[in-house]
């Protein structure tokens, strides 16, 4: 017998006692359990994976920078606040150097962060939210509902994203970062919704869903209690992918000079360096173009690492093992089954 089987004696006692105690658990205990299940274990698993660790550190860093900018702890960018065209590290007051108008480059980057974070969050929440709702309803209900919803998704998917955003941006000139985020992911949900639907199609054949249906549980409750929790890993990974799409698209559009210039954005900095200073032809303006590129690169690197590592947080077998409760389970094959067929 395996060593775990000998423990089952203790396990058996535990089982009956915990069953009896379930009714008179104090509220504190319940909160502690909840904390263990929802906060502690995921955190341990997340931290144990270097990808998640670095991802969290990087994204956390950007959040801190956004807070610094929002609270006004770093001087805001102004023209002629410094000599023109300082190179990076030339003057330690302006570490990243300055632009053609004598603006501190670091200040430009720092003050673009809060808007960016808002835009990312609103865009990703919108895209994944709509995709989850429509995908689950279509997949679960089937029949005409499914056909109609998927026909809509197919139509929306057929419209290329960037050109659509550009036309709408001209028509409505949105400046609020929250609105911009939604605009950028306006038709992003379609592809994601389709893949969520196919996930739901397999989940709905499971026995527990069948059981809920026979018991006459209302549809919205089955979707909320049985289906959505099983989708969470997939949704989280795709949330991060959507966030990355928002960064790429928004910076790209600002770089083209298509979106209305309201606040600071890394793309606007790139646009000015590219179109007004000719940063491509001269060495002295190159840092002006490269600094915002690095800002984008690190944020998207952080998001990718987070997405790659997140897969494991939701794998229950890996979770218990790392929290120190079981040594036997969690074969190594389970760790790398990140079959998330994300696109982009």
């Amino acid at each position: 017998m395996k060593p775990t089987e000998t423990d089952s004696q203790v396990g058996g006692v535990d089982w009956s006692s915990s069953n009896a105690a379930a009714t008179d658990l104090s509220r504190l205990d319940r909160y502690r359990d909840l904390y263990q299940e929802r906060v502690y274990k995921p955190a341990v698993v997340a931290w144990s994976d270097w990808r998640t660790r670095f991802g969290l550190l990087i994204v956390g860093f950007y959040v801190v920078v956004a807070l610094i900018a929002a609270l006004g702890l770093y001087p805001s960018p102004e023209t002629n606040q410094a000599p023109r065209y300082l190179l990076p590290l030339e003057n330690m007051d302006y570490v990243l150097g300055t632009t053609a108008t004598g603006t501190d480059l670091l200040a430009l980057l720092v003050h673009a962060t809060p808007e960016m974070m808002l835009m990312i969050t609103s865009g990703a929440i919108w895209a994944t939210g709509v995709a989850v709702v429509l995908g689950t309803v279509a997949g679960f209900k089937g029949g005409t509902t499914d056909r109609v919803l998927m026909a809509i998704a197919d139509f929306v998917m057929a419209i290329p994203g960037l050109p659509l955003i550009m036309i709408l941006a001209i028509a409505f000139t949105p400046e609020n970062p929250l609105v911009l985020g939604v605009l950028i992911t306006l038709n992003y949900w379609a592809g994601l919704g389709r893949s969520i639907r196919s996930q739901v199609l397999t989940i709905r054949e499971q026995n527990y869903v069948e059981a809920s249906r026979t018991m006459g549980t209302p549809t919205h409750r089955i979707i909320r209690k049985d289906i959505i929790p099983n989708l969470m890993p997939y949704v989280t990974v795709n949330f991060v992918t959507a966030a990355r799409y928002v960064i790429f698209a928004s910076v790209g559009l600002y770089f083209l000079g298509v979106l209305p210039i309201g606040a600071e954005n890394w793309g606007i900095t790139m646009y000015l360096a590219y179109s007004t200073a000719g940063a491509l032809y001269t060495i002295e303006a190159a840092h002006w173009l490269i600094a915002p590129m690095l800002a984008i690169l690190f944020l998207s690197l952080g998001l990718i690492l987070l997405g790659q590592g997140m897969d494991r947080v939701f794998n229950p077998r890996v979770r218990t093992r790392l929290a120190g409760e079981s040594e036997s389970t969690a074969g190594s094959e389970a760790e790398d089954s990140n079959a998330s067929t994300e696109i982009l």
């Binding site: 679960f140 499914d146 197919d154 419209i159 960037l162 083209l256 491509l280 190159a286 984008i296 696109i343």
Partner: protein
């Protein structure tokens, strides 16, 4: 099968029809624009209103004095007849401009997307095969890095270093200025030379995510029972790798191909601007800057049609690639 084909074809036509309607709505909705300016200019020159209307109608396929329904009908009819109006900024029929531009964009997008998939499948399979080795770790790291670079950042870096600083490759255009536009060796060579950088920017940045997806799929398939059975049967490694693992790992990526195609088609707006590559995206950007609505909507319509046709082809071939696909399926309504 033929029933499915008919339904799928009908859907393509319907989608194109809806998008054309959308462009009509947008042209009417968009504020101001050059036509208003043009109208004011003509009126100031003392042209009589009827003539102005005729003039403007020629530009936009829209008669200003007709009812909305009539305008819609005449617009849709002319679009169906291949008349997309006249570009205001370039003063040329939109159809002519786009006919020049479409082949280049399709060339760049298709070549880069296919290359991206070919490399991703190759590297992903290799990573999965030697899972956990140093090779796998290194390549996974590289894939993650490459996925975090937006294609336009790579494009800017490439054009900066290889184009302007070292002047190895051209920085703009589809072919050299001196090259005649005819099917000849110098023409093809020049076209390839001009396409290297745009194709590379798409391919290298898009490869990472696809390779990681392929790696995940392959690892999953490698653990399946039928692969173990195939090994036990003593089948050749080569046969197992291509027919058992490769095929089943690639199939899930096939559907992603479509989304990627759309993403790349839209991305050409930024890409072609950076490389001054006169394709669809290049003209769309020009039209946007000049508020040239006929050209803008024409480009938009053509980009969408290209994507819809791509999706159509991908869908029809999918059932050929995957024999398990049965039309209909068990989709019982709850």
């Amino acid at each position: 099968m033929s029933h499915y084909l008919a339904k799928r074809t009908a859907r393509v036509l319907f989608t194109v029809y809806l998008v054309a309607t959308f462009t009509f709505g947008m042209i009417r909705l968009l504020p101001g624009g050059p036509l208003t300016t043009l109208r004011v200019k003509l009126a100031r020159q003392g042209m009589d209103p009827d003539q102005i209307n005729a003039y403007i109608e020629n530009y936009q396929n829209i008669r200003p004095d007709a009812t909305l329904l009539e305008q819609y009908q005449s617009y849709m009819l002319s679009v169906a007849g291949g008349d997309l109006g006249r570009s205001i900024s370039l003063d040329e029929p939109v159809t002519n401009i786009l006919a020049e531009a479409v082949p280049w964009t399709v060339f760049v997008v298709v070549v880069s997307t296919v290359l991206m998939f070919a490399f991703a499948v190759l590297f992903g399979a290799m990573m999965a095969y030697w899972e956990g080795s140093r090779f796998d770790q290194a390549l996974t790291g590289v894939s993650i890095l490459s996925a975090s670079v937006p294609f336009y950042v790579l494009a800017l870096l490439l054009v900066y270093f290889l184009g302007y600083q070292y002047q190895v490759l051209p920085t703009g255009g589809t072919t050299g200025l001196a090259v005649e536009k005819e099917l000849s060796v110098p023409f093809v060579m020049s076209a390839l030379e001009h396409a290297i950088l745009p194709v590379a920017s798409f391919t290298i940045t898009g490869m990472g995510v696809q390779a990681l997806a392929m790696r995940g799929n392959s690892i999953q398939v490698l653990g399946e029972d039928y692969v173990r059975v195939a090994r036990l049967r003593g089948l050749a490694d080569r046969r197992i790798a291509t027919r058992y693992v490769g095929r089943n790992a690639i199939l899930p990526m096939y559907t992603g191909f479509l989304l990627l195609l759309g993403f790349n088609l839209g991305g050409t707006i930024i890409l072609e601007r950076i490389f001054s590559y006169p394709g669809l995206g290049f003209y769309m950007f020009k039209a946007l800057k000049a508020r040239d609505y006929p050209l803008m909507m024409g480009t938009f319509l053509v980009i969408t049609v290209a994507l819809v046709v791509g999706a159509y082809v991908a869908d029809l071939t999918y059932s050929k690639v995957d024999p398990r696909i049965s039309s209909g399926g068990s989709n019982e309504a709850y």
